[in-house]
Symmetry: C3
Subunit: 214 residues, 3 copies
């Protein structure tokens, strides 16, 4: 079940990466690179941090094949997929939840504490998107988009909570996936967002400790 | 002692990341992400390269808690912290020295040679800032700011020198920290900088070997 | 032989990184950082993914010394090197082939499957350039430049093919290097390129699954 969702999430994330490449008018290779980076990037970062080398994606190559298939599909039929966009967004929320649950589980299996488990949930779910955005020089959507990483983080927090309460592993996974998915769908539907501070960069050009000259 | 400085440096670097997020008007999550990435990013990269997985920051979660606290502090009180900016810059120099010393020590403990030890000093001290800058799409300050990474590199060189001379470990650490800190403070006070070559990009659009078409 | 090509490729890639730093008018440190990052970045990423820590470049420090030498050479004599640019481009193609062959070999030695071997070839050959481009905030040339990573990927595919056919290791290496080099030289000479899709970003501002608000 969780494996099926993992494969599903990888495919949907690969679509997201491929669409981004099309938007930037990259060539076929660029489409495939972004599809692979978005589909498996989060899991790769997680596995590196947990010391699982080579990362799982190199041990079960079906993940890479799925990403390439997703990239080719978008490359060949981007125009026909566009009207399905709202469904892709919903599928993406499912992938977000599945990746958060898998990341939290692997973090817990790796002996991490509560903070670490939540970070693994968030990094697995959003790492691929961050790599995708950096490769095309956009500020990572995860830092800007309302309630995307936040949903994965809260899903991870619930994972830690039900785990601390002694729930069996399947309940932990299901809780994380469901909380993340529902929060993300609610955010898409009702436009939830976190607070931000505006107009407070105190002295122009001195907004950070390492760059006194701006 | 060095542990206390490590905690102090993590906190100050987290402040620096959080201020950068405020400058870019990111939401609360973005502030926390940049605080964590800046505070622990350098150590994480160092531990990955040395094969210490999961990285130390996941084994002692107080580092993550410190970063979150620093991020929240900036989020809630950015306006009141701004007048203290000059002090934050001095604190940042202390953090730079502490991180360089710890990085050099871990590199030496990992069996690296002189070049590797110096790189570990520089990466530990500046890696978090590089991650922070890449996430908000600025050219890393470390590549532009006068005598920031240079201070850590020279601190690492002195670490290697006194180590080769047979000094005990605490002297190695103290030398690296002091040299880095003093150089950074002198650079802030007197505007030291390294030479650069201007106006020499030889043929427009052919400035690199991989992009013959610019 | 392959070791000599590896050293040669490292040096040429370091030149490419240093020239990019000059183009951005970075200081001496920036030139050296980009020289090192470009020269050894690809191999470092490969070693991290394969679990070889510390990466090979820290075990044999001559690679770092070569990068520093290349960076200094460009810093001191950028103007005189510029007329040799066409030769640097050819040398870069040799480095691309050597790095692809070494990456494929290490991937195979690490027990990876076909997809993984091809990815290791491509990442080793192009990873340094990607790091270089991200550090100076350009969209990685590898995503834009005609037939650069593609050459390494096809070289990797040929490596996997002759390996599956039972060819000895030296033939595998030679095949990968030659295919990559010849394809890259042909692409430089005749302007080969891959197809791309234009003007299809379907709904403005909705080009990806994670950023519904653009």
């Amino acid at each position: 079940m969780i494996y099926a969702l993992d494969v599903f999430g990888t495919f949907v994330f690969a679509l997201s990466g491929a669409f981004r490449a099309i938007k930037h008018e990259l060539d076929l290779l660029g489409v495939l690179v972004l599809a692979v980076a978005t589909g498996v990037g989060g899991g790769m970062i997680r596995d590196l941090l947990l010391g699982t080398t080579p990362p799982m994606v190199f041990r079960n190559e079906s993940y890479l094949a799925i990403c390439v298939a997703g990239g080719l599909l978008v490359f060949l039929a981007a125009g026909r997929l566009a009207p399905l966009w709202d469904w892709v967004m919903v599928a993406d929320a499912v992938g977000l939840g599945a990746f958060a649950a898998i990341g939290a589980q692997k973090g817990a299996a790796g002996g991490l504490g509560g903070f670490g488990i939540v970070m693994m949930a968030a990094m697995t779910a959003t790492g691929g998107g961050v790599v995708r955005d950096i490769l095309v020089m956009e500020i990572p959507a995860v830092l800007r988009t309302d309630f995307y990483a936040s949903a994965a983080i809260l899903g991870g927090v619930c994972f830690v909570a039900v785990r601390a309460a002694g729930a069996p592993e399947q309940v932990q996974l299901f809780t994380c996936l469901t909380v993340t998915l529902v929060l993300r769908l609610l955010a898409m539907r009702f436009g939830l967002s976190l607070p931000r501070i505006k107009g407070l960069a105190p002295r122009p050009g001195e907004g950070d400790a390492e760059d006194g000259k701006g």
